[in-house]
Amino acid sequence: MRVLVLNNAAPFIRGGAEELADRLVAGLNATSGVEAELLRIPFRSEPADGIVEQILLSQSLRLYNVDRVIGLKFPTYLIPHPTKILWLLHQFRQAYDLYESRLSYLCNCESGERIAQLVHSADRECFLQSKAIYTNSPVTQARLQKYNGFGSDVLYPPLLDGERFVGGEYRRYFFAGGRVGPGKRQHLLVDAMRLARCSVKLIIAGPVDDEQYGRQLERLVAQNDLSGRVELRFGFHPRDEIADLVNGALACVYLPIDEDSMGYVTMEAFSAAKGVITSCDSGGVLELVHDGQTGFVSNPDAHSLAKILDQLGGDLPTARKLGRNAKALLESKGLSWDHTIATLLDN
C-alpha cells in the first residue's frame, strides 16, 4: 500500500508537527507492505485574503499513484483523494475558536467573516469525504465537535523516540526532566528535598525558560546546603542523555500547572517503567498518573511532596510496582507507533 502523508510547510521552519510527520512516515515505511512518502505544501496564513487561494490550490492538486492519504493539517488535507484518513493535529484555529473569542486576525479584516465561512465549508466537505477522522487530543476532539459537528476518535501522538525509553535499574535518584520554569514548579521539588530525610538524590535536567527562575533554583540549592543531594543540569541535553537519566531513575517527577496534555515527560517515564510523582492540579498528567497505582499525586506544597519522596525513597518494591503499572497503562492507551499506524491504516 502506498501511503502519502499530507502536511503543511513553512519554508525553513521546523517544529513539533514536522518531527511528528517525519516519524509517522518512518513508522509507515517500517511497516510490512507499506511504502510511504511525505507531501509538504508551503502554507502562508497571512495575509488573510491568501487563505482563499490556499484552499483553492489544495483543492486543485491531484494525487496519482497513491492508495491512501493521511492528512495532518489545514489546508493541505483538502487535497482530494478517495481514501483519506485525517489525523488532525489542530484545525485552522483563526477561523474557529480564536475567531469566536475575537483573537483571530480574521476579525480585523473586512472579508474576515466570509473567509471564516469558506474555511468552514471547505473543511466540512473534506470531513464528509474522509474515511475516518482522528484527533491528537481531547481538546482538538472537542473543538471539532463544537465547531464542525463531527465526531472523532482521539489518537494520541506517541513518543517520537520511544525506543530510547526502555527502562533499566531503579537507582537512588528521582529525575525531573522537561523545561525548567515557574509553570513547571521545580522550586517546590527543591524545597521538598530540603524537608525530606531519605538519601535519594534529585536530578533536574532541562532547558531553562526563565533565567531568573533558574538562578532562584540555584540559590535555593546553595542556601539550604543541598548541593550534595540536588543536581541542577540546565540546558538542552542530547536525547540519549535524557533517556539514560529516565531509564536509571527510581521514579520521575513532573509538576506542571494545569497542563492540557499528558506531557511527553510523563510518557517517557511510563515508557521506561517509572512511576511519576505529580500534583493534583497538574491537569492532563492526571490522565496517566493515578495515585498509588502508576505514581503518586501530591498536593502542590513541599511538605506533601517531601512525605512522598521519603516514602518512595525507602521502598524499592513500590517503585518497581508503580513502574510496571505505568508501562502497562501506557500500552493499554495504545500509545505506541505500532498501534497508531495500525489504526491509521485500518478502515
Binding site: 502506498r2 510547510a9 519554508p11 525553513f12 508551503p42 502562508r44 486543485s60 492538486l61 491531484r62
Partner: protein, 345 residues
C-alpha cells in the same frame, strides 16, 4: 542564500527527475546555502492539467527565500522575484510529441486551442525567470523553437562520481534505467536474438508499466534468451550500480528522442565504459559520438546486434572508447562547480 527548490513529482516514482533535484539540494548545502526542497504532485492528464497548474501558480514562496530554483514542469509557473529555471523538459505530448501516439488531446480546434493555451502559459511564466538553463541542447532548442526563448544548457552531473570504477571489460552490456516503453529495452532484447558472439545483456530497473515488463519477459521466454539476458526486475541501489558497471563491457541506453544524455551515460563515463545508443535517441547524442566514445546504431535489432558483437570482439577499441567517454565529461563541463555558480549567480 536561502534557496527554495521546487519541482514536480509523481509520488512513489523514483528516477532521474528526483536525482537532479536531490543532488542539487545536497550540493547547494555543501556550498553553504540554506535549502528547502518541495516536491509538488503533478500528473499530465488533460482533464485537470490547468487546475493543477493553477495550484502551482498559487503556491507562494516569494517572501520565504532569496531565490527560487524551479526544475520539473510545471514548477516553472511559481512566482518569485529571483526565479531561476533549470528546465528539464516541456509537457512533451503538447510540444514535440504532438504528432505522435503520446498526444493526449485530439488534433482538432479544441485540442489545438488547449495546446496553444499551454504554450502561451509556458512562454509567459518562463519569461519571468531571471535565468533559464536547460539540461541539454535538445531542450534549449525546443525552448527556442516553441517559445522563442533562448536558454543555455547546464549539464547535470551525478553525485559523488568518484565511487565508480573500472574492473576491465567483461561480457555484459548493462542497462540501468527505468524499464519503460520509450526507453526501448524491448529493442535490445530483440537484438539479442541476432547476436553471433557470447555477448550478454543485463537489464536492471523498475517499471511503471507492468504490461511492458510482461512483454519483455515473454520475449525472453519465447526466444529462449534466458541464458543470454539477465533481467533484474527491481530498484538497483547506488552501491549495486557501481558493482554492475565495474566489470561491464559497455552500457546501452537508447531512449526514443530523449531530452538529455541520461544519468546512466554519465555513470558509464565515470566508469570508463562506452555507450551503445541509437541514432534517434535525442540528447544522448550530445554526449556520444559514433566510434569515439560509443557506438550509434540505427534503432533496429540487427544493427544493434551487430554493434553489440563489435563491442564484444574488439575489446581494445571498446576500452579506448570507454576512456574517451571519460574525457568527454570535462569537454562538456559536466561538474557541480559550474552548476552551482550558474544557478546562484
Amino acid at each position: 542564500m536561502k534557496i527554495v527548490i521546487a519541482s514536480s513529482f509523481v509520488p512513489f516514482v523514483n528516477g532521474g527527475g528526483r536525482f537532479i533535484v536531490e543532488w542539487l539540494e545536497h550540493k547547494l548545502r555543501e556550498y553553504g546555502h540554506r535549502v528547502e526542497r518541495f516536491y509538488l504532485p503533478f500528473v499530465d492528464r488533460p482533464e485537470d492539467l490547468f487546475d493543477q497548474i493553477l495550484a502551482f501558480r498559487l503556491i507562494d514562496v516569494s517572501s520565504a527565500c532569496d531565490r527560487l530554483i524551479a526544475i520539473r514542469p510545471p514548477a516553472h509557473v511559481l512566482e518569485h522575484p529571483a526565479k531561476v529555471l533549470w528546465f528539464i523538459h516541456h509537457i512533451r505530448s503538447l510540444y514535440d510529441l504532438w504528432d505522435s501516439s503520446y498526444r493526449f488531446v485530439p488534433d482538432d480546434a479544441s485540442g489545438r486551442a488547449f495546446r496553444a493555451a499551454m504554450m502561451d502559459l509556458d512562454t509567459r511564466t518562463i519569461r519571468e525567470a531571471r535565468h533559464v538553463f536547460t539540461n541539454s541542447q535538445v531542450v534549449a532548442n525546443r525552448l527556442m523553437r516553441f517559445n522563442n526563448i533562448s536558454a543555455k544548457p547546464l549539464y547535470p552531473p551525478i553525485l559523488d562520481p568518484g565511487r565508480f570504477r573500472n574492473d576491465g571489460y567483461g561480457d555484459e552490456i548493462v542497462v540501468i534505467c527505468r524499464i519503460e516503453l520509450h526507453k526501448r529495452q524491448l529493442l535490445l532484447v530483440e537484438a539479442m536474438r541476432h547476436v553471433k558472439t557470447a555477448v550478454k545483456l543485463r537489464l536492471c530497473g523498475t517499471s511503471m508499466s507492468p504490461a511492458y515488463v510482461e512483454l519483455i519477459k515473454a520475449m525472453i521466454a519465447k526466444h529462449g534468451l534466458a541464458g543470454k539476458i539477465i533481467y533484474e526486475d527491481r530498484w538497483i541501489s547506488e552501491e549495486e550500480k557501481v558493482e554492475r558497471l565495474a566489470p561491464a563491457l559497455a552500457i546501452a541506453y537508447l531512449p526514443e528522442d530523449e531530452d538529455s544524455y541520461g544519468y546512466c551515460s554519465l555513470e558509464a563515463a565515470h566508469a570508463r565504459k562506452p555507450v551503445l545508443t541509437a541514432s534517434d535517441a535525442g540528447g544522448v547524442l550530445e554526449l556520444v559520438t559514433n566510434e569515439v566514445n560509443g557506438l550509434v546504431a540505427p534503432a533496429d535489432p540487427r544493427a544493434l546486434a551487430d554493434a553489440m558483437d563489435r563491442l564484444f570482439l574488439d575489446r581494445g577499441h571498446t576500452a579506448r572508447m570507454g576512456d574517451a567517454n571519460n574525457r568527454r565529461l570535462s569537454e562538456l563541463g559536466i561538474d557541480w562547480e559550474t552548476v552551482i555558480e550558474s544557478l546562484t549567480s
